[in-house]
């Protein structure tokens, strides 16, 4: 649907005619016309409830009517010929009085409020014209609660707009933040102190129009919004690729806020994305190059000397003996630079063989003509969803939030039938009661979406694949059991019935179970569903890392970790390995490390943080983090999105630049043996140079130039400022070091500048450092940036979808070997806060990690004689992992669920696999 095809109606606002979209409400229409109309409780994603009485306008019966009547704009649908006045004295006075009453109890604490300076209440108070508190009585106070490490609570500031609980309960499905008390004593909090459970709790900070909920880690070293040097960025912590705005000051990331993208994240982020940045500020960050020559001690040195050293390695071993390991966490440009340096044949991806295969199948499916991959915004329009094998809330939480919105589609549809508009939030909910669009979760080891699922099944990974195929056959009118029990087949039948009346079905699967066959089965199911419901087949995959898709576009499917290990082990010549932003050793068990060690003469690590691999390396080259560099990530739907540096790190280079140095060294020192890739890389001075090379890679990258404007983009001859026009402290922030001011760093790589000069409002949606508009200091200013309210940004949502058409064939089913008596099938269990190495560094998130426990069915446990809390030793190959046991009847039998912590002794990429389980002897206490 777009604005062209939708009916327009004419309304008269303050004696001027406008055409607006039919079916919207008046507030939305006025904001869309760039009018300033105050509001609190309305939210573009959450609709209207009409509780704050702030958006009052005067509506007139006809041209002769001069008195009119007052209505709440957010509760009034637009209609042809509607005459309305925002400026009418009565409406203005009413809005002002409303705010005056609201402010009567609002505390006088703006100077010590984290929201000050980006406060919607401040903006709206100013907009309505209220300036003097006439009421002289005492102000109400409330006791605060400790809501955990991420969100702070200061209830005094509450204006009872109910946005927090509407988001937390109705939108995000949380149940531990509630409205307590009665009358004017309402209290928004938990029943008792404690951490907010929802993975989306951080959004309360942005949803709350005042400072009741504030960002706790940000508050620890707080700066005002106008003092943050911000840049548009992309979340690097999962494959969804949410857009975010990174605020920094004095070379530290201070906070992350949502950056609106009409198709991807909309207005909300998950807590991993919002709070996962603190690794970038860590004291442990690699700051200097480290070189350890043979038989001598490690020395720290500079880039030039290191490049010289690594160049010697190339010369010494021959370029054909230098291998490289690219990372699904690093940008496309960084991976491409590495591939150019060593050649395609020597470039491996840091993914297991199953992952690699699964990933390449995903890429193929997304390129097919007969299957469509919806964006998150489109997922919200599906009215029947089946999730296969993914614990979505843990592996792609923002996608799970979209699935939750989709579950309300049945309610909205039924409400529409009785004439209730979809933005009438409360009415829609009351009308819908418990009726939901069918969501079917088929997972292994729990799904937190169970509360909205019409059917929730727990099966082993192989059974999930069979389930998908069986359901596909069933929908096609055939009966094939694919080795499933009668009981499960009954559930197949049930699932088919649930999906029968669906208009737009969607299949969601992913790579976290490491089952390539499941990827194909999901595609098969989506095709059958499409045929059965006469709709387009919608299919979405959640992937393992932020740039899994990008890496798979660069890397050959067969060039995975297992292949790399085999190549090293079988090599006759000494080898060197360059590892890009991957803890390679975490994928290997001790025996494997020992077997590759003698062949590897050199291990060169390019990384941000020290890890076991970097400790074993003889060359360590530090890299700039995602907040300090520019790059492109390709998300789960194949959308290439550009992130930009929020600040310039003191002496760190992005990985691609280190490799360009190296290529320049090689072309200068040994021009005759240089490859074409090295020569091309050697020419790269600026980001745009290497980005252009990526654009030449093939037809997939044909629209590459549209990802984001290049570094020569200007508005009125000026770059776009990262700092606000109020940015303070320029002449004193570093004055204690030297009273002479520093020159601002020059950003040659992008169209953003590290200054205050230039226009904060710009036509390039990919280059919005932070949203601000005159009179709109909070994130609500986004309505000035949207082409239509809740629609795409002006100039089009940033990023482009890369994938086009391709062909495929179904993979045969492979059943993992049946476990013997001493063993169980180990299956990894997704965890939001510690299965990604970078965000796991964030202390606020670490505190929220549940304890690592091995999950089992009670029957399975009793076979081993295990009680809840008993310690077991889980073994795979040479690795041993000691864990406490927790029992859950929902877990399929003969399975042990292992937490997918990134630093676990048994890396998640090696699962599912048969693991040995030995109860540990009870310690005598």
């Amino acid at each position: 649907m777009n604005a062209d095809t939708q009916a327009l109606v004419t309304i008269k606002v303050d004696n001027q005619d406008y055409k607006v979209k039919a079916g919207s409400n008046l507030l939305e229409a006025c904001l869309g016309l760039a009018k300033d109309l105050p509001y609190f409780c309305w939210h573009p994603a959450m609709g209207s409830v009409g509780s704050c009485r702030q958006c009052a306008v005067q509506v007139f019966a006809d041209q002769d009517d001069t008195r009119g009547r007052m209505v709440m704009a957010c509760m009034t649908p637009v209609s042809e010929g509607l005459i309305v006045s925002l400026e009418h004295q009565q409406a203005k006075q009413f809005r002002q009085q409303c705010i005056e009453v609201t402010m009567a109890n609002h505390p006088h604490d703006c100077p010590v409020c984290e929201e000050g300076g980006e406060c919607h209440l401040q903006d709206m108070t100013l907009q309505s014209g209220h300036s003097l508190r006439r009421y002289k009585g005492a102000k109400k106070t409330y006791n605060n609660q400790n809501l955990g490490p991420c969100v702070g609570h200061e209830m005094n500031r509450c204006i009872s707009c109910y946005r927090c609980v509407r988001f937390y309960q109705d939108y995000a499905g949380g149940d531990d933040l509630v409205t307590l008390g009665s009358r004017e004593n309402v209290y928004f909090g938990r029943h008792e102190d404690g951490c907010l459970d929802s993975y989306f709790s951080g959004n309360l900070v942005e949803v709350c129009p005042t400072g009741v909920f504030y960002d706790k880690p940000f508050s620890d070293s707080y700066n005002r919004k106008w003092d943050l040097q911000s840049a548009p960025s992309i979340c690097g912590h999962c494959s969804v690729g949410c857009n975010m705005s990174v605020g920094s000051r004095q070379g530290k990331v201070k906070r992350v806020t949502n950056r609106y993208h009409g198709q991807v994240n909309g207005y909300f982020l998950c807590d991993r994305g919002r709070y996962g940045y603190s690794y970038s500020n860590s004291d442990q960050r690699l700051q200097q190059c480290q070189v350890t020559p043979a038989n001598s001690a490690m020395v720290t040195t500079d880039y030039a000397a290191t490049v010289d050293y690594v160049g010697q390695i190339f010369t010494e071993l021959g370029a054909q003996n230098v291998l490289a390991l690219g990372s699904p966490n690093a940008s496309l440009e960084d991976n491409f630079a590495l591939r150019s340096l060593v050649g395609k044949d020597n470039f491996y991806g840091a993914v297991s063989s199953n992952q690699s295969l699964a990933q390449s199948r995903v890429t193929q499916h997304l390129q097919r003509k007969d299957i469509y991959t919806p964006s998150l915004k489109q997922i919200e329009q599906a009215d029947g969803i089946i999730i296969l094998g993914e614990d979505l809330l843990n592996s792609a939480p923002r996608m799970a939030l979209s699935v939750r919105q989709a579950s309300g589609n049945l309610g909205r549809e039924q409400a529409a039938e009785v004439g209730i508009a979809s933005w009438q939030d409360e009415s829609v909910r009351i009308h819908a009661q418990n009726r939901r669009s069918p969501i079917i979760c088929v997972t292994c080891g729990g799904s937190e979406l169970a509360d909205i699922s019409a059917l929730s099944l727990q099966l082993t990974p192989a059974q999930i694949t069979s389930f998908a195929l069986a359901l596909a056959s069933h929908l096609a009118g055939q009966t094939a059991s694919h080795g499933l029990s009668a009981e499960v087949m009954q559930q197949v039948q049930q699932a088919a019935e649930l999906l029968a009346g669906v208009k737009q079905p969607l299949v969601i699967s992913g790579t976290s179970t490491n089952q390539p066959a499941l990827i194909d089965a999901a595609a098969e199911l989506s095709l059958s569903l499409g045929t059965a419901t006469h709709s387009r087949a919608w299919l979405s995959y959640s992937l393992s890392a932020s740039n899994s898709m990008g890496l798979s576009l660069l890397q050959d499917e067969a060039q995975h970790l297992g292949q790399l290990q085999a190549r090293i082990s079988s090599s006759q010549e000494p080898l060197a390995l360059m590892v890009l932003q991957t803890d390679w050793h975490a994928f290997l068990d001790p025996a494997e490390i020992a077997s590759v060690q003698p062949k590897l003469q050199h291990l060169i690590v390019l990384d941000q943080l020290p890890n076991n691999t970097s400790r074993a390396a003889d060359v360590v080259i530090p890299c700039a983090s995602i907040h300090e560099s520019e790059g492109t990530l390709v998300n789960h739907e194949g959308r290439a999105q550009r992130y930009f540096a929020a600040y310039e790190p003191a002496n760190l280079q992005p990985a691609w630049r280190s490799m360009a140095y190296l290529a320049r060294w090689l072309t200068a020192q040994q021009p005759d043996v240089c490859t074409y890739g090295q020569q091309a890389l050697a020419q790269c001075q600026q980001f745009d140079d290497i980005s252009q090379l990526v654009g030449q890679l093939g037809p997939v990258f044909s629209r590459w130039q549209e990802v984001a404007p290049t570094a020569d983009f200007r508005i009125a001859g000026m770059k776009i400022p990262r700092q606000s026009h109020r940015y303070s402290g320029r002449t004193s922030i570093y004055a204690h070091i030297n009273v002479s001011e520093r020159k601002q760093p020059v950003d040659q790589d992008s169209a953003l500048a590290y200054t205050m000069e230039g226009s904060p409002v710009n036509p390039a949606a990919a280059l919005i450092p932070q949203v601000w508009s005159p009179g709109w200091n909070s994130n609500e200013a986004i309505n000035k940036f949207q082409a239509e309210i809740d629609g795409p940004l002006k100039g089009g949502d940033p990023g482009i979808r890369l994938l086009g058409d391709g062909d495929w064939q179904l993979l045969p089913l492979t059943n993992p070997p049946a476990p013997d008596k001493e063993a169980l099938l180990g299956v990894s269990q997704s965890r939001l806060f510690d299965n990604e190495p970078l965000s796991a560094m964030a202390s606020a998130l670490r505190q929220r990690c549940p304890p690592a426990m091995a999950g089992m069915h009670p029957d399975t446990a009793s076979q081993w004689g295990l009680q809840p809390g008993d310690q077991v030793s889980v073994g795979l190959g040479d690795s041993q992992w000691q864990l406490a046991v927790t029992l859950d009847g929902a877990i399929p039998p003969q399975i042990i669920l292992l937490p997918a912590q990134w630093h676990a002794p048994i890396h998640t990429s090696r699962l599912p696999a048969v693991v040995t389980v030995k109860p540990c002897p009870q310690e005598a206490t």
Partner: protein, 186 residues
């Protein structure tokens, strides 16, 4: 013709008269007293609102008034104030560092106007010259004084509604006791 000549003559006289009057007026100042105040031999009169060296004051209970709200820094036209917020264990905000680069300061007083807690104040002291420009960078311990300066009775946290420095919610001025959520009484 005559009229024209007369007019021109008048103009000439007018211009001459104007210039001569100017010369006479200036010359007559030979005998008037100089307005110069011979500082430093003689201290000039400084008005109470004179804008000299900037200080950070304390509230009546002796605690720092500055809550690190950053308003002074954002008001500063030369951007010569930089500070960082920190918080003590009782929830009281204060500046981790507070730096004024007096070599950039123009003593406009906008910081004092912007300050919501009367913490930052301009004083009568204008003798700030240094031989090293670096010495004009004042840190928090240089700026902080022991007294409240102007507005001796004002204490921001008494009115903020926040529970800080061990004071419970509702114990400040113009504050009602905390709402009892469990009460259903009208």
């Amino acid at each position: 013709m005559l009229q024209r000549v007369l007019h021109i003559s008048y103009l000439i006289w007018d211009y001459l008269y104007s210039n001569l009057l100017t010369l006479w007026t200036v010359a007559s100042h030979t005998f008037s007293k100089a307005d110069t105040v011979e500082y430093p031999d003689q201290m000039p009169y400084l008005a109470p609102r004179f804008r000299g060296r900037i200080v950070l004051t304390r509230d009546p209970s002796g605690e720092e008034r500055c809550v690190a709200c950053n308003l002074c820094a954002s008001a500063c036209p030369t951007d010569c104030i930089a500070l960082q917020k920190t918080e003590d264990e009782t929830g009281r905000w204060s500046a981790e560092y507070f730096r004024i680069n007096f070599s950039r300061c123009v003593f406009c007083g906008l910081c004092e106007e912007a300050c919501p807690t009367y913490a930052i104040q301009l004083t009568q002291d204008f003798e700030l010259a240094e031989y090293q420009r670096q010495n004009l960078v004042y840190e928090k311990h240089h700026l902080l004084i022991d007294g409240p300066g102007k507005h001796p009775d004002y204490s921001f946290y008494e009115l903020s509604g926040k529970a800080v420095s061990g004071r419970a919610k509702g114990a400040g001025k113009l504050e009602a006791p905390p709402v009892d959520v469990k009460s259903l009484l009208p």
